[in-house]
Symmetry: none
Subunit: 236 residues, 2 copies
């Protein structure tokens, strides 16, 4: 049994036993090393291990702290499907079902601020997590990005990543609308649910930092497999 493992186990015991209260600061590394009878370098090995498993939190030049069990606040940020899946430890998948250039509808032209019937690229994808289909995803890109994206392979890839890589475009803001609907027969078959089952429908217009529309999104999520989370703030 090495000294660093002994120090680790001793600290683990002290922490589980409540010797150091949640939120409190541990004694300095020099003191702690003395108390445990090991050198500072050895103690730091043990502390790093405790940090990596979340038992302790380090704060440079301030000390080591016992985490408070306060649930973390989910920030109100825009996460792509890919990022969301990865944050949950799941593998995001995407099967491209359609990828073609067509004229923009009036509504799309208005949202993207382009001319009606100007060419747009529509990409339909069935998205899943760990293989289970979760969402049917339609994206419409304006003419300026058609050339760069019309032959891009978006299978199992993040659209946001490809937009950045191929067009140098960074999505900054997204106007999102959510509603609940019933699945029709086609959608039900794609998502593996029964017709009439509830789906969460998200309509999105994404913009760059300077306010240029980048894409229109239309997502239909399985009601039982997806929830939407956001932080809302009240205007002062």
């Amino acid at each position: 049994m090495t000294a660093s493992i002994q120090a680790y186990e001793r600290l683990t015991r002290d922490l589980t036993v409540g010797r150091y209260a949640p939120g409190s600061r541990l004694p300095g590394e020099r003191d702690l090393a003395g108390q445990l009878g090991v050198s500072r370098a050895t103690l730091r090995l043990a502390l790093s291990r405790l940090e990596s498993e979340g038992t302790l939190q380090r704060s440079a030049q301030r000390g080591w702290f016992v985490p408070t069990q306060v649930l973390s606040e989910p920030p109100s940020t825009l996460q792509s499907f890919t990022e969301m899946a990865r944050a949950r430890g799941l593998r995001p998948t995407a099967r491209v079902m359609r990828q073609e250039v067509r004229p923009a509808s009036l509504d799309e032209a208005a949202k993207l601020r382009i001319a009606p019937a100007a060419p747009v690229l529509e990409i339909d994808r069935l998205r899943g997590m760990d293989g289970t289909p979760v969402c049917f995803d339609v994206v419409v890109l304006p003419s300026v990005h058609v050339e760069a994206m019309k032959d891009a392979d978006l299978t199992d890839r993040s659209l946001y990543d490809e937009l950045r890589r191929l067009c140098g475009i960074e999505v900054h803001r997204s106007a999102y609308t959510l509603m609940a609907e019933s699945a029709d027969a086609d959608l039900a078959r794609l998502l593996g649910i029964t017709a009439g089952a509830p789906v969460l429908v998200g309509d999105e217009v994404a913009y760059t930092a300077d306010g240029t529309p980048v894409l229109i999104g239309h997502n239909k999520y399985r009601g039982d497999a997806y929830r939407f989370e956001a932080d809302l703030f009240r205007r002062a």
Copy 2:
């Protein structure tokens, strides 16, 4: 990550999110340092950085002020049902169906950060616009507000308004979760829809500016009569 940078980011977030109104004075450096869990010297590093980029203005011997010109558009804003209806030119209604004190469940106690089985006030309301039922709304308030609110008349009134009037409480942030479900028979009858029709279910925990939980909300909206809109921002 140094403590001063953490303090800087926390303040930036609070400012963009509207925690401190434009033109208002921040708490004194000593108070603010305490709130952020950082020493005054470290806080002043963060404040100086915010001043150099124009986010804050200092006034010696008086305090730190938020510039009057708006800094940036805040993320998705929180609108009460009442405000939302009025913004659409509709008359908000609310029929109180239940208003009683009961012990908190384990889950509620955790979310409200109170003791399990501590008394909470549950208020069930059927909310409508121009008389048409749109939403079944359950709110749970923690023990501290039970006395002030337990006999309040919330018929056709905004809960947020009454909280401000009777408890001096201002809701600042709300963590919102949305999902799609099917209406069961009871809910369908209340909302005047058929059983199995899609409903948009919102779960909410609302907080004051200092992070104290104020209420838990559980709202079930008619899928065909309500959409949820938000602006989401991508983390820089």
